[in-house]
């Protein structure tokens, strides 16, 4: 049984309003696309783990990046920055399922739910060890909630 550690990030109203997408061609073309970022709220460590991503393509092939800052080590140089590349994206309505590979090994999945700009309830869930955008993610067990914002475009 593979180990899953899922991180969920839920946007709040102020954050959603502050994070307006400004990319010139964030959703160029007719492919499904998603972009966003958010961070986990933690107790006394200050800013929590942070994730940002951009993805564009189809369930068969996609391109994009994911950057994840793991602050489990607390403040200082203990934090780890992980870079990932996107291999697939599947968008249904306002939900995007993204999968990819970490540059230094391993895979991940992103579940993104866009509930509207400024609405404050966008969700981003990062799950290790996923390789397929169609993989069942009902077992995901979010371990943290945070502010974040996401944009999902269903062009399929």
């Amino acid at each position: 049984m593979k180990k899953r550690r899922t991180i969920a990030l839920v946007g709040v109203g102020v954050a959603g309003a502050a994070l307006a997408l400004s990319g010139a061609n964030a959703f160029a073309g007719q492919e499904d696309a998603a972009t966003g970022g958010g961070q986990i709220l933690v107790g006394d460590k200050g800013a929590g783990d942070t994730v940002a991503f951009t993805a564009q393509g189809t369930a068969e092939a996609a391109r994009g990046q994911v950057q994840y800052v793991d602050r489990e080590g607390g403040t200082g140089q203990g934090q780890t920055v992980m870079h990932g590349t996107v291999t697939c994206i599947d968008v249904q309505g306002n939900v995007a399922r993204i999968a990819g590979e970490w540059r230094d090994g391993g895979t991940f999945g992103l579940y993104v739910q866009d509930n509207g700009e400024g609405d404050g309830s966008d969700m981003i869930a990062l799950t290790p060890n996923l390789t397929d955008c169609a993989e069942d993610r009902e077992d995901d067990d979010p371990t943290g909630l945070a502010r974040g914002n996401a944009q999902v475009r269903d062009r399929g």
Binding site: G11, V14, A15, G16, A18, L19, A20, L21, S22, G23, A24, N25, A26, T35, G36, G37, G38, Q39, A47, G48, T50, V51, A52, T54, R63, G64, Q65, Q67, V69, T75, G76, Q77, Q79, V81, H83, T85, E101, R103, D104, G105, R147, G148, N149
Partner: protein, 258 residues
Amino acid sequence: MFDHRITRVLAALVVAGALVSCAADAEPPASGKREGQGKAAHQKRADRKSGPQHGAAKPGHANAAIRRGDGDSAGTGQAGAGATSASGPTGAIQGNAAAPSQPVWTPSCTDDTSGDTDSSGSAPTYADLSSGCLRADGSQLLLAASSAGTVPTRMPDQNTQLSYGFELTAPSGSTLYIHAQASPWGWATYLSRGDGERQLGRPAIDGGRVVLRLPLAELRGAPRLQWTLESSWLRSGVLGTDYAFDSAPNGGAASFHH
């Protein structure tokens, strides 16, 4: 009279030798012409800044990085002292002697559209890529990422991250990822083949350009590579997370081969 003729002949040989030497120095390096053009101003700034900027780096690598920076801009015709004294003559000798046995890599550059980042909030201009270039220099592969803004020597705080990464894919399909990453403590370069990563030396920062170095041996004999360049910037703030991503070329990949 006989001695006078010998003197004339020797003088002619000396003049001819000097002309050949000048021609060799004036010949542009193998770097892409477009890469060199427009970089003169940056290079002049780098010449002024190189001392304190690289002072924080490991001594050996810092010197090498400075030479690489000068070498890159030598194509502009303003070959600096470092380029002529260090890489100029050495490169000529290596080129002649190694031609039969060592491959000659063709420099490869790609431009990127300005203002095409996927971003939120107030993303900095240095996250916006303008071009990327690969070229060989002796036993090293130089990977240069140029951005629309001046690249900082360090991030302002630990909540801000910046990275420029090159993905190199061999015909076999194996992928090598080398990226430079900035933090409040400066820059570092990392190399990964998908099974962990190891740290290399610091990249050279030159105005809006970051130059990474990788031993050509790391290519493991691949005759050609498909490559892409990407940048990522991320800042965690009180009100949310700002980010910016860019890549070049915008579609497909560039080719680097010999």
